[in-house]
């Protein structure tokens, strides 16, 4: 009998402790979904740190298949490693750090005149979380800018959109391209990662 009790205790303990070590724990950084690109990059980085990091950054752009914003030749995709992007963009007009409540890690906001670039931290690295247009001097890669008529959005992105919190949202490969329309005119454009939406 005694033996049965000990065996069952040990089995329950083993069952609870032994499984699921890959499950996210609550302690530490705010839990954000790890994108497949980040997971792949992490694997490469662990294998051979320096060369892998360079290669991963270079491959980031090539592999990216969501809507990307291009500014002065710099391609900015959501969930991309932010370091090379920020380096290419040069000195921002302003920079702001927003530490998350309670958890380690800092969201960063870089403002470059016509747009704002936001990042989120995961595993000691920053990733692009959003790009927000600030004025009508820039356009999306597909040619849509603030002030353009609604028809131009449909022409560029089609009718496969959904409505979310009053925005028109085009989702592609784990990212969102969001438009706010006022009086049938584009009033706001934002590229947004879905990794931080939880």
């Amino acid at each position: 009998m005694k033996r049965k009790v000990w065996i069952s205790s040990i089995m329950i303990t083993a069952a609870l402790c032994g499984c699921g070590s890959g499950v996210k724990t609550i302690e530490g950084d705010v839990a954000v979904k790890e994108t497949s690109a980040q997971a792949q990059e992490k694997e490469q980085t662990e294998a051979a740190p320096e060369e892998a990091e360079d290669a991963a950054a270079a491959e980031d752009t090539a592999q990216y298949s969501g809507y990307a914003f291009t500014y002065d030749g710099t391609v900015i995709g959501m969930d991309m490693d932010a370091a090379p992007v920020v380096e290419q963009l040069g000195e921002p007009d302003s920079y702001f750090e927003a530490p998350s409540c309670a958890f380690e890690g800092i969201d960063k906001v870089y403002t470059y005149g016509s747009f704002e670039l936001d990042t989120y931290p995961t595993d000691d690295k920053d990733y692009v979380s959003s790009v927000v247009f600030k004025d009508d001097t820039i356009t999306t890669t597909e040619g849509v800018g603030i002030g353009d008529p609604e028809d131009k959005v449909v022409e560029a992105y089609g009718s496969g959109w959904t409505e979310e919190d009053g925005m028109r949202v085009y989702e592609k490969d784990g990212m969102k391209l969001c438009f706010i329309l006022e009086n049938d005119t584009v009033a706001s454009i934002e590229y947004r990662s879905t990794a931080v939406e939880q």
């Binding site: 009790v5 205790s9 402790c17 724990t25 302690e27 302003s94 530490p99 309670a102 706001s188 939880q198």
Partner: protein, 345 residues
């Protein structure tokens, strides 16, 4: 013979249950060396529950108001039931929970939480909910807060959620298995360092500035709960510069306060009156106030509470004064320790 079997069976069950209980205690995050905000909600239960004022809300209450100042300057006995990203339904149920123990004269609620209309994050839910004692208020708070990926049973038996922590256990998990360590001063989380507010971004344009129906529903419930219990509800917007507080949100709160006969204080508009200086009174660039800033705006709030609600000065109460003398000593010790740490850096 039969009796012996029964005793054995009972003992067996006890051994299994005890093992699981100990294991669960061991695996639960202790929130001691980091993310200490996870301990805030539970700390309340060890207090003597005779408060005149209870604060509820997110980091904008537990980092921006100092109950010690309310006591020292006005003799108001207060406590902050705040937690990181506390959502409005969590604030409501924490208020219900508080009313199981005491009935304050005034409840102060920070309105930033109205921006959220639905559950947000498990990590923050856990910090607000795990520390609550079990009651119907806690059950309802969990049900209102769970994201799609969460399960109620994981809150009842946290071992189901935390079993994977076995590989990352630290010495503190054993040290604080049954021991407690206070991390707040009546719910206030103290920081003395300074980082001036600079280049705070403007808010992004929103398609819809209206607070959500669910958020309003809980604000209505909170208003009613206070009214039914003869409690004055005060709405505040702490002077945090980020996240951005939109004019459209301000208008809605002003309208709500007026329609419901509530006092609303927006500290963002009172920098001159409170003497708040964003160059020296914030520790993270304008998101939260440091000790200096928290003491300034609390002194202002204390005056309003005293004048509007005629809260009695309880400093002559000997027993309460003794309790507060100990609290003040711990507060000053914490301030000194942090200042010394800053000097070393």
């Amino acid at each position: 013979m039969k009796r012996k079997r029964i005793i054995r069976a009972v003992c067996s069950v006890l051994v299994v249950v005890s093992t699981l209980f100990m294991l669960q205690k061991l695996l639960l995050p202790k929130y001691v060396s980091d993310v200490v905000e996870g301990r805030l909600i539970a700390e309340y239960y060890a207090e003597e529950k005779d408060h005149d004022v209870i604060f509820i809300g997110d980091c904008e209450v537990y980092e921006n108001f100092s109950p010690k100042i309310l006591w020292e300057d006005y003799g108001i006995n207060s406590y902050i039931r705040g937690s990181a990203q506390q959502l409005i339904w969590q604030s409501y149920y924490l208020l219900e929970d508080t009313l199981r123990y005491e009935k304050p004269k005034v409840v102060v609620f920070n309105v930033l939480a109205l921006k959220y209309n639905e559950p947000q994050s498990e990590a923050y839910n856990r910090m607000s909910l795990e520390g609550m004692r079990w009651s119907m208020a806690k059950v309802k708070a969990i049900q209102a807060s769970m994201t799609d990926e969460e399960h109620f049973l994981d809150y009842v038996f946290p071992i189901l959620r935390y079993h994977s922590r076995w590989s990352s256990l630290k010495a503190e998990d054993v040290e604080y298995l049954f021991a407690d360590r206070k991390v707040s001063h009546n719910g206030y989380y103290m920081r003395v360092d300074v980082k001036p507010a600079k280049d705070v971004p403007e808010g992004k344009m929103l398609a819809d500035y209206r607070f959500g129906e669910n958020a309003y529903r809980y604000l209505d419930k909170m208003t009613k709960l206070c009214r039914d219990n003869g409690i004055e509800l005060v709405l505040v917007k702490a002077p945090s510069l980020y996240p951005y507080w939109y004019d459209e949100w301000e208008q809605q709160i002003e309208d709500y306060a007026r329609q419901n006969g509530l006092l609303y204080i927006n500290f963002l508009e009172l920098a001159e009156e409170t003497g708040l200086d964003y160059n020296s009174d914030t520790y993270d660039g304008g998101l939260h106030l440091n000790l200096s800033g928290a003491e300034k705006i609390t002194a202002y709030l204390g005056q309003v509470l005293r004048d509007e609600y005629h809260l009695a000065d309880r400093r002559p109460e000997e027993r309460l004064s003794r309790i507060w003398a100990d609290k003040a000593a711990a507060y000053e010790q914490d301030r000194k320790r942090q200042e010394e740490e800053m000097e070393k850096q």
